[in-house]
């Protein structure tokens, strides 16, 4: 009997036959090698099994988790959760458990070599990155991760699955500039430290001695790295079912809120961290179109916000969704049709970016966003800064590096009908630095972006 089944059985016995019970067991191996000043300065690995037990009985709910997975630890988990459920306040928003349901099929099985890669593998990737940076100071990280999740509940739903991912992410620095490159994949063998280090070096060299320019509205080409921030912000604040219920998001279902070129999907079946085809409530997650040809079509829900909205859960519950609302986690902005990307000279990430740059009479090429925070979720006005390389574009050419700028910009308004002047022809994969989200993000050419401050304030 698995740990999940063992805990389920014990909890049902302890809480009584009328109790609704579910159990989630996540077994995680996470390893991460950090480098700075061109050497490995931090290098970690950790393993943990986390067992989460949820009991709803007599209108009250309690959730309890533990990493103590011996018999005594699991017994204590059951005892604590039953006791808490009996005395906790009433839970009128309880949405019940998910029933038995089939899971979507993954397009590819998880790669064991990726999830369990040894520290020497990451060290060699780091070495290749640093060497390709060619004498510039390099910093960043290499990560591999494997999570095996098992879910069971008292309604008969049972699911298990494995997610693996690998990431290589870094910068090269000169005294006056930084250049960034990053890549995420389900296959650690895909990560090319030498190519990424060389790209970071090219960007850093091309952005030396930047000049300060006047803030204002500029046409922009956002590179895929910057677009990944746009997607995560849209996902977290905008397509959040709880926020939608509360009226605090910009989303209006069925309306043409975006440019017709925009199609945005949440897709657990492909992408760098694909594999989470069910959520912590055991609800299946499948490909979900959030925006189709500019029209907003869906938000994501856990069971609680879905009940409130009178719809079905989309399978986006997580440990915090009851409070913060459900969020999409595998976002992909569909790229435009076009030739496969190729390496290019100069600071642009690739030929797909350069194709967008070629159409700009005067604007800015932006590598990265940094520290983006929400001023008002209703219009989704964000402030943040550029980072890791910004250049002026004049008559379709990248002409000179400029200093970082602060922006204050409504993201959906930047993508509104008529504002998207081009989308890159491929969507590189990125893993969030903050959590489990991934994004597949093509470059974007936008008619305007509101820069509200320069380097000197």
């Amino acid at each position: 009997m698995s740990i999940a089944e063992q805990v389920l059985e014990a909890a049902r016995r302890a809480a009584g036959g009328s109790a609704e019970v579910d159990v989630n067991v996540a077994r995680e191996h996470l390893a991460l090698t950090r480098f700075a000043n061109s050497y490995i300065h931090q290098n970690i690995a950790r393993e943990a099994d986390t067992v989460t037990l949820r009991i709803h009985v007599d209108g009250r709910t309690a959730v309890n988790s533990t990493t103590v997975t011996d018999d005594a630890g699991l017994a204590a988990l059951v005892e604590r959760t039953v006791a808490a459920a009996r005395v906790s306040p009433a839970d009128p928003g309880w949405a019940g458990l998910s029933g038995p349901a089939e899971l979507p099929k993954l397009l590819a099985e998880p790669d064991p070599a990726t999830g369990e890669a040894a520290p020497e593998v990451r060290a060699e990737q780091v070495r290749a990155y640093i060497e390709a940076a060619g004498g510039l100071t390099a910093a960043g990280f290499a990560r591999n991760r494997k999570v095996v999740t098992t879910y069971v509940n008292s309604e008969g739903q049972a699911a298990s699955g494995t997610v693996v991912e690998a990431v290589l992410d870094g910068i090269a620095k000169t005294p006056t500039s930084d250049g960034a490159s990053r890549q995420a994949s389900r296959l650690i063998a895909d990560l090319d430290g030498a190519a990424l280090g060389a790209r970071a070096r090219a960007k850093a060299l091309a952005s030396q001695d930047p000049v300060e320019i006047e803030p204002g509205e500029y046409e922009v080409v956002l590179e895929p790295t910057a677009v990944s921030d746009v997607l995560w912000v849209l996902g977290g604040y905008g397509f959040n079912g709880k926020a939608f219920n509360e009226g605090t998001t910009f989303v209006r279902l069925g309306e043409p809120q975006f440019d017709p070129a925009v199609t945005l999907v949440d897709d657990p079946l492909s992408g760098p961290a694909a594999g989470a085809v069910f959520d912590v409530e055991g609800t299946p997650r499948d490909r979900l179109v959030l925006v189709r040809d500019g029209e907003t079509t869906a938000v994501v829900h856990d069971r609680r916000s879905a009940l409130e909205a009178g719809v079905a859960s989309t399978g986006h519950a997580d440990a915090e969704s009851a409070v913060n609302g459900a969020e999409p986690i595998n976002l992909r902005l569909e790229p435009s049709a076009g030739a496969p990307p190729a390496e290019v000279d100069g600071p642009a990430a690739d030929s797909a970016v350069m194709a967008l740059v070629a159409g700009v009479r005067r604007g800015l090429l932006v590598t990265d966003h940094w520290y983006t925070r929400c001023l008002d979720p209703r219009r989704l006005v964000m402030t943040g800064l550029t980072r890791n390389g910004v250049w002026l574009i004049e008559d379709g050419e990248i002409t000179r590096p400029v200093k970082n700028l602060r922006f204050t910009q409504s993201y959906p308004e930047a993508l509104a009908p008529g504002r998207v002047l081009g989308i890159g022809s491929h969507a590189p994969a990125f893993a969030s630095k903050y959590g489990v989200q991934s994004a597949m993000a093509p470059a974007l050419r936008l008619a305007g972006w509101n820069f509200t401050g320069g380097a000197s304030g």
Partner: protein
Amino acid sequence: MSSYLDAADAAVEHALALGARYADARVMHRRTESMSARNGAVEALDQGETVGVGVRALVGSSWGFFATPHLDPAAAREAGRRAVEIARASARVPGPAAMIPADPEVGTWASECHVDPLAVPLSDKGDLLTAATAEMRKQGADVATGLYQIWDTRKWFVSSEGHRIDQHIRECGGGISATAVGERETQVRSYPSRRGQYGTRGWELVTELDLAAHAAQVADEAQALLRAPQCPSGETTLILGGEQLALQIHESVGHAIELDRILGWEAAYAGTSWLDLAELGKLRYGSELMNIVVDATYPGALGSFGYDDEGTKAGKRDAVRNGIWTGVLAGRESAAVAGLDYAGSVRSMDWASLPMVRMTNVGLEPGPHTLDEIIAETDDGVFMDLNRSWSIDDKRLNFQFGCEVGYEVKNGKLGRMLKNPTYTGIGPKFWQSMDMLSSEIVAWGTPNCGKGQPGQIGHTGHPAAPARFRNVRVGVRG
């Protein structure tokens, strides 16, 4: 708990036997509890227990860290082995590594706690949040939320240099927020702040907040903000409430004086710092009124402890004195690289996370004024209070903050309420413009400080009081 110390000993001894020249191990046992309520009903009750050991090993000049939840002797030894194995892999891309000398501390410490927060009945805690959020809803809040969080942490630390330390730290806090939803905007008012107030104290902290008593006003003000005029745009005199100034300190001083950032160890992620060690002791950071102290001994503040997570006893040190930059937040390794002789600011989120340079309590010493005096002496300006948004560049220079509420200040008096108050600036220029500082210090707790990879959430404290700043750009809008 001798078994926990035994596990830590086993890990350290095995790492040394396999070639480490230094090793330490930290066993942590933590119980957590949080409850959230919305619109008069509880929406989440989460409790947790976690136990494990994290082992650091220094082999040659390279570090390795491994963490496991298993504490039997064989598992502990295996954790020591894995830490050494990882350190040997680090040596493929080697760098400098050293540690300043340290006394082998042996000690015990516990935070003061009058009412054990985990022993307070769940029903009482639930009633507190449901009553407060129901009252906000009744008073017109479109969304009324309340939250408390509790952490009860025991740590056992041993090192190959002879450290043997155990600590018991209890932290808790909470708060309420009301959101008003308009046609194209939302407005929020919170008490005592958006994140709540937190400290290394017992449930008495939450009781003293008296959340229910503030619910009606919070809801009224959220609705009033929808009708209020926009904060004007331009340069003006800015008065900040203490909670907002606490976050200003956190972002533009606390992170900037982290020695790992100054040394470039966070360059690719959290960023570096505008500060140059060559300027330590000489650089003017702010006005003469600016006295920032790093004090892990501050009673009840959220960043307080007895020893940091590499065994350095808690202490108090100047970071800025009379406006001059005088100190940093350091650990034994970063101090050695920088040529400094003090540490004491290394912490980790949990047993599974690598200890790293973190803020403790970083805050202002009191000034000579009161908020009333500051307002009375201001002819024309804006008063802003309670943080709503925050953003700062990777060198900790260029910042922009949004607050929940603003008020006109005209001829020494508070005037109309203003919505969407924001201000922006450059750190040292801003701090040099501080010309009045209140004595009304509150040690605000920040329970959500993100840093490190894998990401760690830190708990920090920031003693702060209202203050006045000249010629600040306000009213930035998108």
